[in-house]
Subunit: 189 residues, 4 copies
């Protein structure tokens, strides 16, 4: 069986973003799992100048990778109890490419809640896009204390939590791939 | 293959509830689909006296039917932008029985929004329980004008909308049953 | 000026509820503030047998105290990322009595999030009822470790956090009372 | 008394945005109310290149107008059950300027729900910012059928609905201005 392709979507272009460290860790652990291929998607490398899924807000490289994806891992900081605008612009730029593909979430914050509310807000949006939400969220509270100056992880407990989220995401990706390949329906011809 | 068992969970015991008519219609259409077995679950017939999933808030008949279920169709009215307390008590009474089973939603209101906000609120709860949310919601706005005095449907467009929600629910139930039976994991031994 | 009347609404009747300790602490601190009169409302002492605001789901004592109230302090545990059914039944039983009265929130959980998601869910409901939401929430994560066996508070930091929530609630209660008494409008004749 | 200053915040820069017509109508009706001064804020005229409230994501003109504001009217389209990324970037760029100022909402959609879910999502964010949410939302479902080709309103019922939202917003703006001017507290020195 081919490897499952899992883009890791980072949620912000904020220059000081600490969530980049969380995304890099999730990428690193993903690379150690031999049934998947991961790719870190930094919205700063793409171009979504407007809102919505009109052609003028699409980036063909993002279109291609979402089409090829078997699932997604979204890493979002929390700003004011919700996700960043950049993440919404990027997600909104496509639609049909997401249908019946699973999504795992990691939330990031400087405070004590680890992006839990950003994830709750995001669930509504990705459900409407047809993504299938999983429930093994990873939370990074007090991200500023989670990595050292060189970006090294200080709390090894995260490894197991991220592996558990991947296990759930892969389970769901396999079940949905079975569905897309075998169960027909209006979305998969 | 055995028929998929789909309980239809009605959300309220309110004496004047119009959502009962919507649930009966969903039951009737479900009976016409030969790959599924449906059962209308009226919370008025069960006993959930408290909150949470302690033994004192469980009803063994509800425990048995959620364990046997392959998926759920929840029919909820909207009170103050959310679901009724009765529905939450019933759902909260179980936990592991819901994992990796899909759920479809029908929302009911007297106003113009058809329970859309009750469904949004519910998504958070059922995701945490491990249910897998689908995205072909059925909305019953102005329910008081949707059926005549005898409970006969006045707008035949609902039949196609409910059939579409069932199609999506069945697709997901089959994919997840494949997963539960073949993909292992910590939830299915 | 008369004291502002602030009912403290407890969210659950679950026998093992730890949130009762949080509500008692909030009551105790409220009693030490001389501009307010507080009253702990335990839903176990009231009767809300159904859903909605029909007469059969009203308790006249709750009707009276919500009518008299100048604001509310809701103490809710979090079950499955939302509030308990009992709290929803109680809140739904009234409507006009809440308009233009402020509400503060305390969330309670055994886990690390302190009911943050239960509060988010609740915001939608109380806004629709006309309550005015404040933003100085109090969170009780790991409530099982916050009080000792006799119910004595182990972390004195909560006192300041609760006092800050009261300060914000009282500020808003005074501003809205000014409005109700002086600004007319369709809700206050 | 000086006029209350109410910026009308449009939520998207999408080239085909129909919500601009709704915002123009809300501006026009606002101009007819002699106790307020309104200003339509088109995010296409401002510059928010990143996320968050760091200096590099601020526009000094937006900083100035939010500081001067006595309340806000947000006009948001709904994309995938939530608000556009552009609106979030703009709102996130400031923080303290919003505290204890009221906000009214108008939602816009091509479908039947008029942005109701975008408004629900937004409530969490503006509450955290300290804005005080009102509950007289205006919904523009099927916006493409609400104005003619010249932008003339086809359904005069909107005028009364918008006037009612303004009445509630002005009531709350006056009550909160009384508070800010007279009640002290940590946010207003």
């Amino acid at each position: 069986m081919d490897k499952l392709f899992i883009p890791i979507l980072l949620g912000t272009t904020r220059p000081k973003r600490e969530s980049f460290k969380a995304a890099k860790l999730i990428e690193k652990i993903g690379r150690s799992i031999d049934t998947i291929e991961v790719q870190l998607v930094d919205p700063g490398d793409y171009n979504f100048p407007f809102d919505g899924n009109d052609p003028e807000n699409k980036d063909p490289r993002y279109s291609a990778l979402t089409q090829r994806a078997d699932g997604f891992f979204i890493v979002t900081p929390e700003y004011n109890h919700s996700f960043p605008g950049t993440l919404k612009r990027m997600l909104d730029s496509e639609l049909r490419n997401y249908v019946h593909k699973p999504v795992a979430f990691a939330g990031v914050s400087n405070g004590i809640f680890g992006g839990a509310r950003a994830i709750e807000s995001l669930v509504h949006t990705v459900r409407e896009m047809g993504m299938v939400v999983t429930f093994s969220d990873v939370y990074f509270p007090q991200i500023q204390n989670t990595f050292d100056e060189k970006g090294e992880l200080l709390d090894q407990g995260y490894i197991k939590r991220i592996e558990r989220a991947y296990a759930e995401l892969i389970w769901m990706a396999k079940a949905l791939k079975y569905g897309r390949d075998n169960l027909g329906g209006p979305y998969h011809s």
